[in-house]
């Protein structure tokens, strides 16, 4: 079944953002030269901390209000009754609308910040290394093209974006790289993708994140990030040249 081409909103918008960013950087007097590789994993952690701060503030405000009122409005005597206010229509509407608008403002702020990061996550940088990933019960296969196919382990060059084109042969799986703060499902009959960039040499764990049967927790994959020149040599050798021991696992 052929898939309809859909408007590539995210790449278009991401492309505009990608053009705007170096333009802004140059305009603000930043270092000229090649645009930096985005850091979606670092950006994720940064935004997560902001969101957690946001929800913690809201939670603490409401929590303290509850504690205060429970203490302050304890019954003075057994016959005492509450004297909660009867609201006029104007008060009733205002007391609904004002909080509603405040919540909405926070929602849109979070949506906007999240959208910027989402653009980064879904826009594959131009020079990304393409690797096809095929998920099966219960192993992963990585196809670099040129006849290089590995199983349950992959090598990637440090500092260069890697885009994984995912599909599945049997049931739904999900390729999850916790250290890169990213996952995407591998779905039979669909082509999905994710991209990441390893910033240091080392071993990064990937794992299956979509329930796929009895072996679901038993299909990890090791992503070995090696310096770009050694990676190129590995590719040139048809994937056969063994690489020297690497740094400690990045986890």
């Amino acid at each position: 079944m052929t898939r309809k081409r859909e408007l590539p909103w995210m790449p278009v918008l991401g492309g505009i953002a990608a053009l705007a960013t170096p333009a802004l950087a140059l305009a603000s007097g930043g270092v000229g030269g090649a645009a930096k590789v985005p850091d979606p994993a670092g950006d994720w952690t940064h935004l997560f901390h902001e969101v957690v701060t946001d929800i913690t503030v809201i939670g603490v405000v409401f929590g303290l209000a509850a504690i205060y009122m429970i203490w302050r409005y304890r019954a003075k005597s057994p016959d005492d009754v509450g004297h909660g206010p009867t609201l006029t229509t104007v008060q009733s509407v205002a007391l609904a609308l004002v909080p509603a608008l405040l919540f909405m403002a926070d929602d849109f702020l979070l949506a906007a910040k999240g959208w910027v990061l989402y653009n980064t996550q879904r826009t594959v940088p131009a020079d990304a290394l393409e690797v096809k990933v095929s998920a099966s019960q219960f192993y992963w296969e990585f196809d670099y093209g040129n006849g290089i196919v590995t199983s349950n382990e992959m090598k990637v060059p440090v500092g260069r974006p890697v885009v994984l084109r995912l599909s599945a042969t049997d049931v739904i799986h999900s390729f999850f790289i916790p250290a890169m703060r990213i996952k995407e499902d591998a779905v039979p009959g669909r082509k999905t993708y994710l991209w990441f960039v390893a910033r240091e040499p080392g071993t990064i764990i990937a794992t299956c994140a979509e329930y796929c049967g009895v072996g679901h927790p038993q299909m990890p994959a090791n992503i070995e990030a090696i310096p770009a020149d050694r990676f190129d040599a590995w590719i040139k050798s048809g994937g056969k040249q063994a690489s020297a021991p690497d740094a400690a696992p990045q986890g």
Partner: protein, 524 residues
């Protein structure tokens, strides 16, 4: 004393409600034991308590039973059936025999679920049942489907019954703006049930047709689409969380208003903006369960906005609940302790959902213990504690006895500490990548195990708290201290106009309330 035959053949809404309560709590206990097995297995990586297929069976049963047997029938079937008719001044529901039919459908679903676990090849498709796995697996997916059919049909029938009851059978002078918050939240919940359960029914029926009848809805090789199921399933299953959330809030409004002797704060906003808003918006957020599924990016972004915005009507409901404490005159009982705990549980559960509304956050957090902890805080903790609050609050009404014993308070505290110990650690390892549905996590750093240790200890502490609580409730049902007529001084109709327990037909005389009456008339 009543006979077993009278209970089996009953069409009295209160007895039907009690039957729902028994089935619901039996499911809770069994699913709770399943949870303990899961937590034992996850204590350390490489444990050998229950692994592989057996683990997946237990995990399936835990999820399906907690949602489909405990939470939804407990909140709508028990609280809805027992209290809604009395609160509106009705003598029973609109269709009493249909009511009996709905509870026996529910029991039929429980029987199918239990039988499915006893036979070989128990379902291992989890409560979500995604294809292709649920079709290619050798296990008995059909049992899962038939469980859903029976319990879903029970819910649809029960929803029709209770909605018609509210529309047609309110006593004179009880208008729409005079309904109990429990009644309004149930109306929202039941309407959601009515609209969305058929979609779940369709989704699981398509599974069983694909597996056994040669259709190809989800068979990619023959032109089917795997994501179709996820969309249909979550189109129901997201609104289903509001089926649970709304009556849980409804119970809290009742308990807080009665124990605070206060009117509901901004009642109309809570009802027409909050409950109606949640109900309407419940149906436009489901794709946040599909953020990593490969569905097109633009759909994910739209539903990020809608999912974030549903916090608005929820926020209005929360403010009304908080506001009901304002200038109240609060006395405390076990029900109020549970209600106060719920105030914090709803904050934690609801606010930890905010990152999950954001696509960019969820590309990492999806399918990790973070999600698991979030929905347990809202469903397992908030909604469950709310149910206990309601059971304790209306215990004297239903039994004529008091259940507010030292054991009750002890059970509350032990459970409260236990549930927090169980689920806070899971947020932490979830952010670091601990996936869901894993019976072994050896590939992850060693320090994950420490957090699992705490969570497992918490689960057993919770089990102790629940045992104390359920034991106390069972004991006091038969041997508790006799209660006075209206121990909490509530102004709601079930307390002011019926004995403990209400007899057949509920009211001695047809209930008459003055014009302008509300269930919260503490100050005139």
């Amino acid at each position: 004393m009543t006979t077993l035959k009278e209970w089996i053949l009953t069409t009295d809404h209160k007895r039907v409600g009690i039957l729902y309560l028994i089935g619901s709590f039996a499911g809770f206990a069994l699913a709770g034991i399943a949870a303990l097995l899961i937590r034992l297995q996850q204590y350390d990586p490489g444990m050998d308590i229950i692994t592989g297929n057996a683990y997946n069976n237990v995990l399936y049963f835990h999820g399906a039973a907690m949602i489909l047997v405990f939470l939804i029938p407990g909140l709508t079937g028990f609280f809805g059936n027992y209290f809604l008719p009395i609160m509106i001044g009705a003598r029973d529901v609109a269709f009493p025999r249909l009511n009996a039919f709905s509870v026996w459908l529910f029991y039929g679903g429980i029987v199918v679920a239990l039988v499915s676990m006893a036979l070989p090849d128990a379902p291992d498709v989890l409560w979500t049942g995604y294809p292709p796995y649920s079709i290619t697996t050798a296990s008995n997916t059909a049992f899962y489907v038939f469980t859903v059919h029976l319990i879903g049909f029970s819910s649809i029938v029960g929803s029709i019954n209770l909605i018609v009851t509210v529309i047609c059978m309110r006593a004179p002078n009880i208008g729409w703006n005079q309904l109990n918050m429990l009644v309004w939240t149930l109306l929202g919940s039941l309407t959601i049930n009515l609209i969305f359960i058929p979609v779940l029914g369709a989704a699981v029926t398509m599974l069983v047709l694909d597996k056994y009848a040669g259709t190809n809805f989800f068979n990619v090789a023959a032109g089917g689409d795997v994501l179709l199921y996820q969309n249909l399933f979550w189109f129901y299953s997201h609104p289903a969380v509001y089926v649970i959330f709304l009556p849980a809030m409804g119970i809290l409004y009742e308990v807080v208003a009665a124990m605070g002797k206060n009117r509901i704060f901004n009642y109309k906003a809570a009802v027409y903006f909050g409950i109606v808003g949640v109900g309407v918006m419940s149906g436009d957020v489901w794709v946040h369960h599909l953020y990593t599924s490969g569905i097109p990016d633009w759909i994910r972004v739209i539903m990020m906005v809608t999912t974030l915005l549903i916090s608005v009507p929820v926020g209005v409901m929360v403010i009304s609940l908080w506001g009901t404490l304002y200038k109240a005159s609060i006395t405390f009982n076990v029900a109020m302790y549970y209600a106060i705990a719920c105030l914090f549980l709803v904050l934690i559960g609801g606010l930890t959902g905010i990152p999950l509304a954001m696509v960019s956050m969820t590309l990492h957090l999806a399918k990790t213990s973070y999600v698991h902890a979030h929905f347990h805080f809202v469903m397992a903790l908030f909604a469950t504690f709310s149910m206990f609050s309601g059971v304790y609050f209306w215990f004297p009404k239903m039994s004529g006895r008091m259940a507010d014993t030292v054991v009750a308070y002890l059970g509350f505290w032990v459970s409260s500490i236990g549930v927090n110990l169980t689920f806070w650690p899971l947020f932490v390892i979830g952010v670091e990548g601990m996936p869901r549905r894993y019976w072994d996590y050896s590939q992850f750093p060693d320090w994950f195990a420490g957090y699992h240790h705490i969570a497992t200890a918490g689960a057993f502490l919770t089990a102790l708290g629940m045992a104390l609580t359920l034991g106390n409730l069972a004991y006091c049902t038969f041997w508790g201290k006799k209660s006075v007529a209206n121990p909490w001084g509530s102004k709601s109709l079930e307390w002011t106009h019926t004995p403990n327990p209400p007899g057949p037909g509920n009211f001695v005389d047809d209930p008459k309330v003055a014009p302008g009456w509300t269930p919260y008339e503490y100050v005139r």
